[in-house]
């Protein structure tokens, strides 16, 4: 449900001119909901940026997500995170 909620809010921001990128934890939900730009991560629910107190991993995921903002891929963009 969280994945859907995030996608729906992202869509509203995009309609208002704000470029968004969403983390997504379940690919089949992201494919159904279609957030404008999303990075699908291989982590468990409750751990969208990986394990706690691992800032390097958190940075790697966030920076991979932000790179999607600069890509020329057509929306909806859904890319799998493949690690640092």
């Amino acid at each position: 449900m969280c994945n859907q909620a995030v996608g729906l809010v992202a869509a509203e921001l995009e309609r208002r001119g704000i470029a968004t990128v969403s983390i997504q934890l379940l690919r089949f939900i992201a494919e159904r909901v279609r957030p404008p730009r999303a990075l699908c991560v291989p982590f468990a629910h409750g751990y969208p940026l990986g394990r706690p107190d691992e800032p390097d991993t958190q940075h790697a995921v966030i920076e991979a997500a932000l790179r999607l903002l600069e890509s020329d891929l057509r929306v909806p963009v859904l890319v799998d995170y493949r690690g640092e």
């Binding site: 859907q4 996608g7 509203e12 995009e14 309609r15 208002r16 909901v33 279609r34 940075h59 932000l66």
Partner: protein, 147 residues
């Protein structure tokens, strides 16, 4: 249950083209992990379909003070309790700013509770209100993190 639920589909998919480098962009953070700041009202577990409200989180929040009030018991909450950056990575965002990877961190961010089966109030009330605030703030980009 997840496969049987009638998921909303965004159609058409809106697209705001990034018009400047990331290093010049103002970023806001949005998390659906149900965090509230000290003194803020908890998300209401009793609302049918889920609590569609949102909380404004100041950018200078000490991340360790965030309180997890997400109602779902379907995931492990211990990571959020140990390090709220896992779903509200404000420390990481500040570091991106310090490193010059983004232009600036917005002065406020938004928290909501993503365990919503009924989404109309989210899409028709909360999301437009959040968008109004971020547009007024001059935000260029937003990072959204579910849980």
């Amino acid at each position: 249950m997840l496969r049987a639920y009638r998921w909303r589909t965004i159609d058409p998919v809106p697209y705001a083209k990034l018009e400047k480098p990331l290093a010049d962009c103002r970023l806001a953070l949005l998390s659906s992990a149900g965090f509230v700041a000290p003194g803020q009202e908890r998300f209401d577990e009793s609302i049918k379909g889920g609590d569609p409200s949102f909380r404004e989180i100041a950018s200078d929040i000490a991340v360790s003070t965030l309180i997890d009030t997400h109602r779902s018991e379907s995931f492990d909450h211990t990571g959020l309790a140990k390090d709220p950056n896992v779903a509200f990575p404000i420390d990481r965002v500040r570091e991106l700013d310090e490193r010059g990877k983004i232009g600036s961190v917005n002065q406020r961010h938004f928290s909501f509770m993503g365990s919503l089966t009924a989404t109309r109030r989210l899409t028709h009330q909360s999301a437009p209100a959040i968008a109004d605030s971020l547009v007024a703030d001059g935000v260029d980009i937003a990072l959204l993190v579910p849980v």
